[in-house]
Structure formats: C-alpha cells, structure tokens
Amino acid sequence: MIFDDAAQYRSSGFAPQVAIVGAGPAGITVARRLAKARIPCALLDAGGRVYSQESQDVYRGTTIGDPYFDLDATRLRYLGGTSGHWTGWTRFLDPHDFEKRDWIPNSGWPIGREAIEPHFASAREILGLPRFLDDLPISDDISRIHLIRSDPVRFGAKYAGELADSALIAVVLNTYATDLAAENGRVTAANINSNRRPAGRIDAPRFVVATGGIENSRLLLWSNETSSHPVVPEAAALGRYWMEHPEFEGGDIYVEDTGAYRAEVDGWAYFAPTPAAMRLNRLMNFHAVIMPRRYTGGKRLLAELACTAPAAAQWLAAKAGKNLSCGARVGLAWEQAPLPENRVTLSSDQRDYAGIPRVELHWKKGELERRTLLEGLKLFGATLATKDIGRIRIDEWIRNGGDYPTNQEMAGHHHMGGTRMSTDPTTGVVDGDCKVHGMENLYVAGSSIFTTSGYANPTATIVAFADRLGAHLAETRA
C-alpha cells in the first residue's frame, strides 16, 4: 500500500508491528524482509514519489572544516532516497575493515564480516549484482580488486509496484518524522508533519531509523532534545565519528603493459593494498585506479609522450593545437579514520520549515589519511614498477604536502558514521544487532552504523546490513 499522506494512512486502520522512518535502500530492504516474514510495517518517507525542491530544502545545512558538497545536493529526499544518486559502483566491505587495527584510532567492529556474509546473496539479488571476483594479489603489497559498476537500482522506481501491492507494507509519503518520543527505555511514537503541517504521531511496538548517513544523527539528536525521556540514553558518540571516502587524482601513470591487469569499465582497473601491507606500513585501506584517457592515433602518441617527456609533449601539443595530458591518471579513494571531532550537530540558528534545526557537518581530513595517500601511491607505484606494468609520477601537491586540489570530486558522497556500532556506548550508538544502546525497541539502519568505512562504495554493505536487521526483527518478534 502507498498512502500519499498520514491522514490516508490513518483512515486505513493499518496496525504496524514496526515503524521504519525513511524509505531509501536501507528502509525499503528492512520493510521487504519484514513483509517476507509476514510482519506488517509502516514505512514513512518525508518526500513524495518524485524529487521536489520543496522537500529537498529540508536537507540544506552548513559544512564546517574541509570543502564539501552542498548538503542538499549530496543526498535525496523522496521515495527511494539517495539511491537516485547512485552510480552503480559497489563492493562489500573487506573482512579486515572490521578488525581492530592498532594504528587506526577507534577501529574495530563488535562483529566480523561473517555476521553479514549470509546476507550477501540477498543484497546481490536486490541490487542485481553479479558475484564479486576474489582479490588477486599481484605483489606482497597490492592486489587487483573487483569493484562492480552495476546498473544502478533506483529503489523508488524498482520497488514502488511491489510496495503498492503489498498488504504488509504501508508506505506513508510526504510524512516527515521530526522527532521520536521515548519513555522508560522505549520509543513510544514518531511525531510527524504530513504535507508540511503538524500531523500528530505514529505508534508502533518497534522503530527503525533509516533516514540516511547524515539525517539519522539529526533525527536522534533532535529527539534527545525534545523527548521527556532520552531516545539515545548514552549519547556521547551520537553524531560523532562521521566519515566519507575522500577521492582525488594523485598522479600520472605511464602504463607499460596493459595485459598485466584486467580492466573493469572504460579501461579502468582497481587495486588495493593487501592486509599485510597495511599492517606493515600502518596505512588505512584505499583503492587506486588506473584511468586511461580515451585518446587514439596521434593524440594517443602525444599522450604517451606526455607521460615520459612532459615538456616535449607540451611543445608538440601546442604546435598541433592540442591540450593533452599523460595517457592515464591514477586516482585514489581511501578510508577515513573515525574521529569524534568529525560529526553532525544541530544548528543553533538555522531551522527548516517545521522548526527543526538544520544540520551542521564538521568534517576534516586528517594526517593519517594524508600519509595513506602518499605512502599508498608509493606502494602502488613500486608494485607497478617491479612488475613492469607501468610507472607512476606522484603529483607534486601530495609529495610536498600542498593543499588538496579544489577542482576535483573531493569525496564519494558516502555518508557514514554518526550512529556507529560499538560494544561500548561511549564510542558508539548501536550494538551488534543495530539496536540503540539502552533502548528496547529502537534500531538504526544504513551507513550511519558503520564503525569504520573501508574504501568500498557502501550501497552493497548497507543493503546486506539492512537485510540482516530485517531478519533479526523477524526472529525476535514479540
């Protein structure tokens, strides 16, 4: 069933066992899993069936620290959520991403990857992904990795029909859960606006917050301020340890032997450090990608020349009226150390139409990341040279500690942390079952639960975790 507002929903008399706030990839996956177990659930979404600027405006906010995307551009607020931005790239987090690594502060999940592996098949089916190929070590330091670029699933478009036909899922659109109310360790209701007006509350025995990697923190922070009893009783970590995947081009690469690796898409090929190399060099996880330029004929010739003799190439290119660069570039995307100072907070003076404080995102890249960028490129370059695959020239700003370029993508639009998983409520918000510490009936879904980020584009891992949460809720039904 899909209702266009809360009034329609109420008139249906639907009685959910679980209320899920947020109908993006995580929320829809939890709902579908519950429906499979014959558990009725309400699935609230603040937006409508399609994008609207009016809805999107609630996502405006401020970033403090390093340059970042506009907060109303880096995510989407309508049925299907930010899957509307997904480019299709994904991969599950690596097993070693879950481990405690003593050189990375606050690393170590309370569960291992084996806890979500039983849900990989479901995630692949939901996302239409083929099976990932095993990593292929090409040296002691570097492996070829398989990063899939799939046909991106827009969850609203793909699942709207199924949701509409379901008697067990009640989608409630244009319904903004502004805050949760709690009493004695239980969430009792979600207070809502519907069609931009206060519309009372929605009740359910259990609640799942699935509003995205920034908004989950905002909703819970504001709920803690408004509820007579705390919604997150131990809130030291709430909003904190927020992470992204910074991504920048790091150098030119002259590719000697393209037969030495298997390119994925458009000639791109992905590589990552082995766990042993990360441990030995005290690096965070990252991937390096070879990105050949699509030059042919004379342009290709000049581009190859530009790799090895830039000055001569520039002179020749100028003569030919061309503006060509080295034949390929190398890009890096990397894990961020989870730091408490990288955090989502509530603005003290900016509010949305409903009077809810807008987000302030405090985000900076750190020294360990800078080191990972330089030393990671050196490792990658050394493997390419040793194996005679090619030679890398690391960009000057990396070698000399210059500022990050301002004309590049900056990050992956991957919003992680804020309600991270931890056994210790002082360093995390949810436990190994995605249940909020100190609460009986409140759960969190989505990448805000990530304890660490790895480098993998997170959609596949988000969906696997959501499928696991749905299964857990089904197993533990009252």
Partner: protein
C-alpha cells in the same frame, strides 16, 4: 640499446616514442639488486636511472 627489443614488439609510432623519450621506462625483469627509488615524483626502478 636495451630498448630495441621492446620496440620490435610495438607498432612503429608508439615504439618510436618509447625509443626516443621513453627508454627509461622500458620493461625488463627486475634484478635482485634493483631497488625502487623516487625521482622528481616518478616511482622508478634503480636500473631505470642507469639507462638514462
């Protein structure tokens, strides 16, 4: 010149470029003593430099 064998395995034009300005990056099996060095940002084998 060490590069010549490689040139023969390439088409003429890119082989020419490689021969003239790219010899330093020619494929050869790394020797036991061939260390990795960084010069002007390039990550090279030491033997790359010897052939300059």
């Amino acid at each position: 010149m060490k590069c010549a064998g490689k040139v023969n395995r390439r088409n003429f034009l890119s082989g020419f470029v490689t021969l003239v300005v790219g010899c330093v990056f020619q494929a050869r099996k790394i020797t036991g003593t061939d260390r990795i060095v960084m010069r002007d940002g390039w990550i090279l084998k030491e033997s790359d430099l010897r052939d300059l």
